[in-house]
Point group: none
Chain length 207, copies 4
Amino acid sequence: MGVKERRKREKEQRRQQILDVARELCMRKSYFEVRMEEIAEGAEVAIGTLYLYFQNKDEIYATLCEEGLDILNRLIEEALQEKKDSQARLEAIGRSYLTFYAEYGSYYDVLSFVGMGFKQIGLSRELETRITQKSDAAIARLETVVREGMEAGEITGGDSKEVAFFLWGLLEGLIFIHRRGYMNAWSVDLASTSTKAMDAINRGISG
Amino acid sequence: MGVKERRKREKEQRRQQILDVARELCMRKSYFEVRMEEIAEGAEVAIGTLYLYFQNKDEIYATLCEEGLDILNRLIEEALQEKKDSQARLEAIGRSYLTFYAEYGSYYDVLSFVGMGFKQIGLSRELETRITQKSDAAIARLETVVREGMEAGEITGGDSKEVAFFLWGLLEGLIFIHRRGYMNAWSVDLASTSTKAMDAINRGISG
Amino acid sequence: MGVKERRKREKEQRRQQILDVARELCMRKSYFEVRMEEIAEGAEVAIGTLYLYFQNKDEIYATLCEEGLDILNRLIEEALQEKKDSQARLEAIGRSYLTFYAEYGSYYDVLSFVGMGFKQIGLSRELETRITQKSDAAIARLETVVREGMEAGEITGGDSKEVAFFLWGLLEGLIFIHRRGYMNAWSVDLASTSTKAMDAINRGISG
Amino acid sequence: MGVKERRKREKEQRRQQILDVARELCMRKSYFEVRMEEIAEGAEVAIGTLYLYFQNKDEIYATLCEEGLDILNRLIEEALQEKKDSQARLEAIGRSYLTFYAEYGSYYDVLSFVGMGFKQIGLSRELETRITQKSDAAIARLETVVREGMEAGEITGGDSKEVAFFLWGLLEGLIFIHRRGYMNAWSVDLASTSTKAMDAINRGISG
DNA sequence: GATGAATGAGATTTCATTCAT
DNA sequence: CATGAATGAAATCTCATTCAT
């Protein structure tokens, strides 16, 4: 009985090991440049073993996306606990996203390809659906906060979806720029810049 | 006499034809997925011909980047003509970027890889330098406008570089999100959203 | 247990198979004309398999050179056993070289490019060093025999290196001529000619 | 009338120019590495022009061989003038060959491929015949000298063809070794070594 | 005669995936 | 379950030769 359990646990561990290595590699190079052999080597398994845990290379990638979205959604949910004020709630979401980028940067890089390259990546419909759902969940959460803020009269700006999108866009863009090295090149600090940006936006949309 | 001229014209046309096809393909797939054979087929030339016009695949890609940056910088410069007010100038730059994305979207996609994948792409130092310079020029232009606005007391927010970066980040992020299809999925309009975002930001940073 | 052993043996066999085919082809055409595809076909493996055993085409070629030099050096060493007289020793070396050409002719052809084309061939420094060393070993052996003969008063002619080189040159040249078909065209026999040449030289240099 | 002549002269000059460049290049790299474009550039003509003067790449190569053989035969003929003694005549031929290598080294490299690679090179039968004939002429001349020496009792060694071949082989081999850089590596001088070799051989075959 | 842009077959090399053990 | 050698399609790039001007 215990044997079966141990087997299952070991299997899950090995699966995670593979994902860990793949994520690490996707952080350093483009997905297209990561080779299955590298993943196998890093995870200390044979190439063939990768195919016991994942249907193909794309599924590994998609699984990373899913994991990343899970983390992001969890971070957002945690950050929203006990925050009543709309401004504070928005700021909490923003901070979650920056934390996600800072602490789970390898997931971020993977995720930034979602949607872009997915038309070309062969994925099981099931996995694609899950990713789309989780992706939507994050946006939906943000939009809800904005809408509630508007209903409470704490936020102005008309359409809650539009406001949600430009808040998201601001963060996404800052990270995009940082990731590509422009901030370092110009000696600009991401944390400071995003704080100021959030403040400015908050002033601009406060009711 | 005219023969030489015509030859030169034809050569330039064919070069453009190759770039047009390459740009179109880079828009639909990742750079890594575009094959030289496809470009050749699309441009109706033999594969070898591509190598008469460009040293290798990377040079084609880099040339696209350079062209894109030239267009963007021109659009920005044109938009800034006759705008005296800082708010108007910032808005003009923002609109230039959106126009660039709308009208030259295929360039945008190519450019969004700049910095990201460049470490892996083998480019002549000369070309790489040109691209970096042109990339910096766009940022520098934005920062100058912000700084002048601060000096004129029309803009607040402390560091001009930080403000410039979050303005850029906002636009970059909105386009990023739009490009990945989220706006369409949520029935959100890019133009409307970005106008509102710029307004909010302007309110937030106006002195 | 036996499985591992058998695998190793099979791998070595396949490696030899590839080298055999490559050597055969290098014998019939110039190295530059031999295509990887031909080698693969001849060895009845896929092209990709070649790259499992050798880093690239040049390494296959270099390995052939190394193998050839090993055989040559072994033949020379064997031939020198139990020969006390300088004349006999020189003759033994000469005969070794002719044997090498006769029995391992395919190696000879490969080796005759060493030094000539090597500047153009991209080799690992390690392999290049090994080849140079083994190449030098053969010459050094010959020179030693000549020098010892001079010290024993059995050989005259002044400089041992010069004498060693012209002995080597004689053999090299005879084989060169034979290999190019001139001897057959003129109905001249290599064995007979080289015996006479060695005799004449021996008379010319005997103390 | 003069126009036609000038045209013909110019054409011959251009042909020579092409051959000069090709020879120079064949000296520095293997024939297979020399590109038609390089030859065209060096000769300051268009690629297409090469094909007005030669049917294909191989014909350029073969023409170089032919020219080389012409020079060699002329040198030998000149050297044999007024030499009565067999020893002197043989020495004269040897010296011719060394001179040929020293002064027309670029031809030598080209010639050393004759016979070796010719099966693979597509040549007009006419040109191939001419080359074979000229190649044979050099050997025949040597053999004649040896035979006359034997008839005069100045040379011993049995078969004149065999003796001729080992004399030729000696020179060929020494140059072969020198050309591949071994003599330089071992600080051995070609001129000195070949003089000693000829002396030794002469002693060995003198009647 | 001269040009040189264009061709396209063919070379080397890579890597996701399979399958016999 | 795990292995990893083998596969072979596909990618980039080269270069002798042609042909319209």
